[in-house]
Each structure stands twice: as structure tokens, then as C-alpha cells.
């Protein structure tokens, strides 16, 4: 086995500065490739949305690729590609972010784009309208996948009050009803320097980069972000269940347990517990799904997949600002009743609650997690992502202590976390039970909400 010393990345040399307008800037020089990556993060995500406006954060993200005062609509295409670059963005529950990675000589261009995006986007009414159907298409494409659909329904049942309950893509009726003013006012409210973090990583000089940041961003006025008070999710009083009966070929089982947020002392014990149950994933939302976890010796893989009950099992624990969900997702093999799959997985979870994990399992999980932290830092884009991601949900300084936090987890802490977090009153169980294709009749084609979906919520018991 490798010596752990070699698995420890070089000390982070992050230059941190806050402009007078409140923009937080994080710069890290990395001279491994002639590239630079810029990410601009906003503390706004679907948890900031109110009823009637679900999906607005994500729609705003789409609109922020459609031209600005100084980047005409027809000049958007190619603006970063001419530097061999790539750009993208994503929206989730706590955050909206934009990224460009290109050759290092594109740094000024990237900073210009992000400064424009912060304050000068156009929101042409025709563009808003045409993007409505693009987003509805994105929603419907997601709903073609039973597992995505089950995830969305399970989350909505697991939370009854906290806005984490609604999907980031939004509910269909809101996407049909929202208008340009809704989008633009939301944009103006949250896209201000004091609500943003700008991250630059790559083959650059930090002083020169900082001068570029000042040149492009210093003139942008700070704004007042009126953040509403979020409802705290009340204590869950009993297990919740839902069953989707929908035409399909395959059955899926999903368990969602209320999870600790990043700042909760239980987070790292839960991360180790997940590694024991389903294999270590690391903590990079942007990179981790690209490499499957090492999981063949993980408890649930052996209990479910190796015994032929499931064709796949995966665990999901992502660092979030507020308590979200730890999900366990399984695909039943053809012919395996969901009740049987559920019985076996719950027995396994009960076993870890009762007996905890062994020292060997703890060591393996810690080593796996440390290796994943190395693997997920394989590009400037991924490194820059992590700085911005953690700063947006808590603080980038979490990254400095990740290794220590993981290594200091004890078997007793893991067992205590399992006892507390994996109890039945903390979970929601979702079934996707396929009914034979053709047995329900034609769908309207207007998305799952209008299609032959029956969602039975049995409520708490």
C-alpha cells in the first residue's frame, strides 16, 4: 500500500483578497499546464426560491449566457473557444456557478466575461421566451430517466418545509408561468459582488491576475441581497414512503436519510460510513461522478450486487450548507421484488448501527478517501471548483483540513453517526415499481407531472 505521505497534496498556496465592493477573490498559481481556469460563484441556488418561482435560479443561469451590454448576442459564440477554451455553468441547491478553462493568455478575456455576467446581462424578451422551452426540454429529458424522477419525488417527500424540497430545475407550472421580469429582478438581486466568489487557478502570476480582477470588477457597485429567512425543517417524526407506479422495465429503490451539513461534526463520520457501505467518492461534486468508486468490497455491494439482488448500488453524501440528504440508490435486478431488496438493505444498515465498523474497514475507508482527494485534484478546473464550492457553502479553508478531518474519524464516531442518522424515523423510502409498458394508456407528453405517474405518499408513521 502506498505511503500516505505521498498521497498528501502539496500545501495550498491560496491568495485571498476581498475588494471594497465585497467580491471575494481566491487565486492559486499552478504551473502544471499552460492553462488557466476561472470560476465565478454566487450564493444563490434553488433553496433561495419561493413558491411560484421554482427553477428561477437555473433559468437565470441559462440567461447569463445570452449576451451582455458589451458582448453582443452574436459575439457570445466563440468568445472563449477562440482560446481553445471551454465554458459552462451549473446551478444547484446552494449555488450558481460559471466557469471557463482556456489557455493562460485568455485570463483577461475570462475576467471580462465574468464581470459582464455579474452586471450587464441583456435578458432580451425573445431570448427569455425561447429559453423557456429549452429548460422544459431539459426537465422532460431528466424525467425520461426513472431514477432521476424517483430522486426528485423522494426529495420532495423527505422535506416538508425546507426549500431543499423542490427540484433545482423547477416545477413545470412555474416554468410555464414565469416571465422576463421575474428572471431579471432575481438576477439583479443576487448577482452582486458581495454575493460572489471569484476563483482563478492556473499558470498565471497572482499579482498580475489580481490587477486584472481589480480592473474588471472594482467598478461594480455592491448591492443589498435581501435574503429571506429559510424555514428550518422540523424534526421528522416517522418513516416516510412513496411509490411511483409507472410504465417501465426496471424497479428502483432509493433511501434518503436526513444528512448532516458540512459544518456538522457528524459530516466526516458519515463520509467514512458511506465509504464503508458503498465505496469512497471524495467530495468533488464536479469530478467525482466521472470516476466510479472502488466499491466491490463495500458492504452494500457485497450484500446486494454480489448476491444478485441489485445490478447497482450507490451512495450520495455531498457537502451542503444546510442539512440535506444521504441517499442510497439501488437498481433491482429483473425479478427481484423491491420488498426483498429493501429488507436486505435495511438489515445491513441495522447491522452497522448495532455493531459499528471494524478497524480494518475504517482504515480502508480513510485510505480510499485520501486517494480520492488526490485523484479529484487532477486538473486546475477541478481544483478551482473545490475552492469556490467550499467557499460558497462554508469556507474554502475546509479544504486545508479535509485530510485531517477524515483521518481523525474514529470507529466510535462512525457507529454513533450510524445510530443517529440511519434510524428509521430519519428516512424516506422511495420505490419505482414498473408496470408493463402499454398497460396504462398514452401519456400526454407534457412531462411526468402530466403523464401516467401515480405517486402514493403514505406519510409519516
Amino acid at each position: 500500500m502506498a505511503t500516505l505521505e505521498r498521497a498528501t497534496p502539496a500545501a495550498m498556496h491560496v491568495h485571498e483578497e476581498v475588494l471594497d465592493n465585497g467580491l471575494r477573490v481566491l487565486i492559486q498559481e499552478m504551473h502544471t499546464a499552460p492553462l488557466a481556469s476561472v470560476w465565478c460563484w454566487y450564493r444563490v441556488g434553488s433553496k433561495d426560491e419561493t413558491t411560484g418561482l421554482t427553477g428561477v435560479s437555473h433559468w437565470v443561469e441559462h440567461m447569463n449566457f445570452k449576451g451582455t451590454t458589451n458582448i453582443p448576442r452574436d459575439k457570445v459564440k466563440g468568445i472563449i473557444e477562440q482560446f481553445g477554451g471551454y465554458w459552462n455553468g451549473y446551478t444547484w441547491i446552494d449555488q450558481t456557478t460559471y466557469t471557463e478553462t482556456a489557455t493562460r493568455n485568455a485570463l483577461d478575456r475570462m475576467l471580462f466575461i465574468e464581470a459582464e455576467r455579474m452586471t450587464n446581462c441583456l435578458y432580451d424578451p425573445e431570448d427569455c421566451e425561447s429559453e423557456r422551452t429549452v429548460i422544459i426540454s431539459e426537465l422532460q429529458g431528466g424525467e425520461n430517466d426513472p431514477d432521476t424522477l424517483l430522486d426528485q419525488e423522494l426529495t420532495a417527500v423527505a422535506f416538508k418545509a425546507h426549500p431543499y424540497r423542490h427540484p433545482t430545475i423547477g416545477w413545470l407550472s412555474d416554468l410555464q408561468a414565469m416571465n422576463r421580469e421575474d428572471l431579471y429582478s432575481y438576477y439583479r438581486r443576487f448577482y452582486v459582488p458581495n454575493n460572489a466568489t471569484l476563483v482563478i487557478v492556473g499558470d498565471i502570476d497572482k499579482n498580475e491576475a489580481m490587477r486584472g480582477v481589480v480592473r474588471h470588477f472594482d467598478r461594480i457597485a455592491q448591492g443589498h441581497v435581501s435574503r429571506r429567512r429559510l424555514t428550518k425543517e422540523p424534526e421528522q417524526l416517522g418513516e416516510r414512503r412513496l411509490t411511483l407506479s409507472r410504465e417501465g422495465t426496471t424497479a428502483y429503490l432509493k433511501l434518503g436519510y436526513r444528512a448532516p451539513s458540512i459544518s456538522d461534526p457528524d459530516f466526516f463520520p458519515m463520509l467514512v460510513l458511506d465509504a464503508v457501505l458503498t465505496g469512497a467518492k471524495g467530495v468533488n461534486l464536479w469530478a467525482s461522478f466521472r470516476t466510479p468508486p472502488a466499491q466491490r468490497s463495500a458492504r452494500l455491494y457485497r450484500a446486494l450486487v454480489d448476491r444478485g439482488l441489485a445490478s447497482s448500488v450507490s451512495g450520495g453524501l455531498v457537502p451542503t450548507a444546510e442539512p440535506f440528504l444521504y441517499t442510497l440508490s439501488m437498481t433491482a435486478t429483473t425479478g427481484t421484488p423491491l420488498a426483498r431488496l429493501e429488507e436486505v438493505v435495511l438489515n445491513e444498515l441495522e447491522s452497522v448501527r448495532t455493531r459499528g465498523i471494524s478497524t480494518g474497514e475504517l482504515e480502508k475507508a480513510v485510505h480510499q478517501l485520501r486517494a480520492r482527494l488526490v485523484f479529484e485534484n487532477d486538473s486546475i478546473t477541478n481544483i478551482a471548483h473545490q475552492l469556490g464550492y467550499f467557499e460558497t457553502i462554508a469556507s474554502w479553508r475546509w479544504l486545508e483540513s479535509l485530510h485531517t478531518a477524515i483521518e481523525s474519524v474514529t470507529a466510535d464516531q462512525v457507529r454513533a453517526a450510524a445510530v443517529e442518522r440511519l434510524k428509521s424515523t430519519n428516512r424516506t423510502i422511495g420505490w419505482f415499481e414498473p408496470v408493463p409498458i402499454g398497460s396504462v394508456g398514452g401519456a400526454s407528453g407534457e412531462g411526468a407531472g402530466a403523464g401516467p405517474v401515480s405517486c402514493t405518499v403514505l406519510g409519516e408513521r
Binding site: M1, A2, A7, T32, A33, L35, K77, G78, E81, G84, Y86, A102, T103, S130, T133, V134, I136, S137, L139, Q140, G141, N144, P146, E247, G248, T249, G279, A280, T291, P292, P293, A294, Q295, R296, S297, V305, D306, R307, G308, S311, S312, T331, T333, T334, G335, K364, H367, Q368, R370, A371, V374, F375, D378, S379, I380, G438, G442, A443, A448, G451
Partner: protein, 426 residues
């Protein structure tokens, strides 16, 4: 043994005495190494009555060897945080993993044992078969897969190596047994069909020595080739609709056969595809279908120039109400491209992008390893990365226009739509 080194990526390419090719490249981004082993054992080598055999083998080859149980393999990999990803495409079966530098030697030993001495235990075959049947049934319920597989079956014929379902059918998988897996392994796996790429924070000489220690003693005959008929382009347009009324969105797969990778027109086709359906957000197709008309979340094209002419495929995911309009837009874009060719500005932009994106492509160990495998498979030479800029720069507007004229013919397109749509698409 031959050793060659060049500038640019400058990988060290070594042919071991038994014929195995080892390509090593040092990169110091992280204290990790990516190992990418590729064998000429893709789905085109499936016997006609056993479609899905190569894929079945990819899911069972690492489930036990003469000296290691499946549990031992799992433990040895997992405790090092290593996940071995096996995958199969038309021509190649790959085993890829990333490990910490100090784990390289033991990982190569395990990998060598897996590919040289698999035993395919009966109980593993039974379990993996059930998994594969489940995967096939998931595919059957996925409009994107149904559209793409239907398109390839229409384009090449359902029994052609490029037209068959890569995972086979429930029926074919049911009859794949241990004997079939062992025969396929004996026929396709040997040092002569292996190319092993090692990229990471390790000196090439140490990487090559580790590879030699693991694979150097392997003796097995070189695998044979397989006859792949070249499919003539269809004379007329073919349209197939697969209604999936339980779905929310329809997937369109539309396209043609293209060219061989070895064709001297490859670089003109590469540029054509970039302009048509890649550049920025999906090239001209994305600009029309997504950006201007708001009809789809995705619309793009992809080019698979391969051992024989592979497909040029256009994909879009659209609301059922927009299927006809989206396909008509694809027709219009192709006709216009074939008639007028690219603009000078488009030529310049796409060249600049493709050349400029090379450092990004070659930033990570995994990216470099995949690039070097492609280079090796198509015999492009270890200096290919430094030749790409000149190869692309030399292409003229007329050459791209000619590629478009030759290929983008809506009247001879093959179109498959899968989703909640039963309309009269033509």
C-alpha cells in the same frame, strides 16, 4: 525491443519481446498514475449468434483468476482506493484505473493476472448475467439508447458489427456461458493485442520495467482479424419511429456513414463536424435548434471515423410536438452546409478552437492516456500531438465543403425517433 521518443508529449513507446506495446508518459500534476490497458477485443468480434459476448467478458474478466478469488481482487483494489473500470467499444476492450504512484507495481501485477488468467466462475457468470439483463431492460426503456441503437441497426444492418446492440439481447445473453467466455478470451487476449499506457508521476523507465515484470512473460498467439463489410450508403431516406408513450421527451438520431479514420480526408471531416454540430454549444445545429428556436436542451453531431466508415450522427432531444420541426431544421442546416460549405470565419474559428484545446485535452493523466491509446490504435505515431496543428491548418474551405457535399445528404439520411411520438415523420 524498440524505443522511440519525440518532442511534445514525447511518450516512451516500447515493444516488449512478446509483442505487447507499452507507452509511458511522465506527468507531475498529482502523485498518481493512470493505467490504461486496451485489447483488440471489442464488440465487432462477437460471434453472430452470441451478440454481447465482448461486453459480457468485460463484466466478468475481473471476477476471479487462477490464484485470486473475486473477493481477493476486490479487496486488493479497494484498499488502495482503486476502481478498475472495464469498458468495451466496437474494436477495443479497455481496463482503466488510477492509483497512487507507490501502488503502481502491485496494481500492474493484479491487472496482468486478471487479463492473463481469468477463470470466469460459474456463480459470477450467473450473477453478472442477471445484471446485464437488467441493463438491457433499462436500455429498452431509455429513448436515447433506443434511438441510437435503432439508428445504427438501420444504418449497418442488425447483424453487422457496427449495427448490433453492444450488450446483446436478453436472448443472446441467456446462452452466453463459461465456455463461450473462455473461447473469446483465448482468441482475443494476448500480448500481441495489448497496448498498455501508463501516465503519471513516474519515470518512464520505471513504468516500462514494471510493465515488463507484469506482462513480459505472457505467451499467447496473436489474435486474428475479422471481416467487416463496408455498408454502401442508402439510396433513399429511411425513417423509423419507435413509440415510447411512457416517456416525456423524444430522442432523435439522424445521420450517415462517414469515412475511415485512415482516410486522408479525415481532417476535413473533423472540421466539418466541428462546424456543423460541435463548435461552442453544438455548432450550426445547436445554434438553430437550441439557441434560435428553443426546441431542445441538446442538439449536436458526432463523427466516428473508424476502422471502416463509422457513423456521423446528429442527436437532439425534443418535445414530441417539435419532432417534425426539429428534423426539418436538421435537413435545412445540412442542405445549406452541403450547398454553400463553411464560411471563412467558421474555418478559422474551428481550427483555432481545435488546435487551442489541445493543452486542455492533454491536461489530466486520464486524458493523456486516452489520447495515447487512440494514437496507438490508429497508428498515428507518438508525435501525433505535435502534428495536429499543421494537419488542421492545411485544410482548405473547399476540402470541408467537399466533405459536406459528399456526406450531408438529407435525401439519403437515416432517421430514428424514439419517444412519446407517433406522428408521420418523413
Amino acid at each position: 525491443m524498440t524505443v522511440a521518443a519525440h518532442r511534445g508529449l514525447s511518450p516512451v513507446r516500447t515493444v516488449l519481446d512478446n509483442g505487447a506495446v507499452v507507452i509511458a508518459k511522465q506527468s507531475q500534476t498529482t502523485p498518481a498514475v493512470t493505467v490504461h490497458a486496451a485489447f483488440h477485443a471489442g464488440t465487432v468480434f462477437d460471434p453472430p449468434h452470441l451478440s454481447g459476448l465482448a461486453h459480457f467478458l468485460s463484466r466478468t474478466i475481473d471476477r476471479g483468476t487462477a490464484t485470486r478469488s473475486p473477493e481477493t481482487i476486490a479487496d486488493e483494489l479497494d484498499r488502495r482506493g482503486v476502481s478498475l473500470a472495464t469498458s468495451v467499444n466496437r474494436h477495443v476492450l479497455s481496463l482503466v484505473c488510477t492509483c497512487l504512484v507507490d501502488d503502481l507495481e502491485p496494481i500492474l501485477q493484479i491487472l496482468a493476472d486478471i487479463v492473463m488468467h481469468p477463470v470466469f466462475p460459474e456463480n459470477e457468470i450467473t450473477t453478472r448475467r442477471a445484471e446485464i439483463v437488467t441493463l438491457i431492460r433499462q436500455d429498452d426503456d431509455n429513448p436515447a439508447v433506443v434511438a441510437m441503437e435503432g439508428f445504427l441497426a438501420e444504418l449497418y444492418g442488425p447483424s453487422h458489427g457496427y449495427g448490433r446492440r453492444p450488450r446483446g439481447t436478453v436472448d443472446s445473453v441467456e446462452v452466453i456461458d463459461r465456455d463461450a467466455l473462455q473461447r473469446f478470451h483465448t482468441a482475443r487476449f494476448g500480448p500481441g493485442s495489448l497496448s498498455l499506457v501508463i501516465v503519471g508521476d513516474i519515470e518512464p523507465v520505471r513504468a516500462v520495467e514494471a510493465a515488463r515484470a507484469a506482462f513480459g512473460e505472457w505467451k499467447a498467439p496473436s489474435p486474428g482479424t475479422v471481416e467487416l463489410p463496408v455498408t454502401p450508403p442508402p439510396l433513399a431516406r429511411r425513417v423509423r419511429v419507435v413509440p415510447m408513450m411512457n416517456k416525456a421527451q423524444a430522442d432523435v438520431a439522424y445521420g450517415f456513414t462517414s469515412i475511415r479514420r485512415s482516410d486522408s480526408d479525415y481532417y476535413a471531416f473533423w472540421l466539418m463536424n466541428n462546424i456543423l454540430g460541435q463548435y461552442s454549444l453544438g455548432g450550426r445545429l445547436g445554434g438553430s435548434i437550441r439557441e434560435r428556436q428553443g426546441m431542445a436542451y441538446y442538439a449536436f453531431s458526432s463523427l466516428d471515423a473508424n476502422v471502416i466508415p463509422g457513423p456521423l450522427t446528429i442527436r437532439a432531444g425534443v418535445s414530441p410536438a417539435n419532432v417534425e420541426r426539429a428534423v426539418a431544421s436538421i435537413d435545412d442546416e445540412l442542405s445549406r452546409f452541403a450547398a454553400d460549405g463553411p464560411t471563412d470565419a467558421e474555418m478559422a474559428e474551428s481550427k483555432q478552437y481545435l488546435i487551442g484545446s489541445m493543452p486542455r485535452t492533454l491536461e489530466t493523466n486520464i486524458g493523456i492516456a486516452a489520447f495515447l491509446q487512440t494514437e496507438e490504435f490508429f497508428g498515428l505515431g507518438v508525435d501525433y500531438d505535435v502534428r495536429v496543428p499543421d494537419l488542421l491548418t492545411a485544410i482548405t474551405r473547399d476540402e470541408v465543403h467537399e466533405a459536406a457535399r459528399r456526406t450531408l445528404r438529407p435525401a439519403q439520411a437515416t432517421v430514428v425517433v424514439a419517444g412519446p411520438y407517433t406522428g408521420d415523420l418523413r
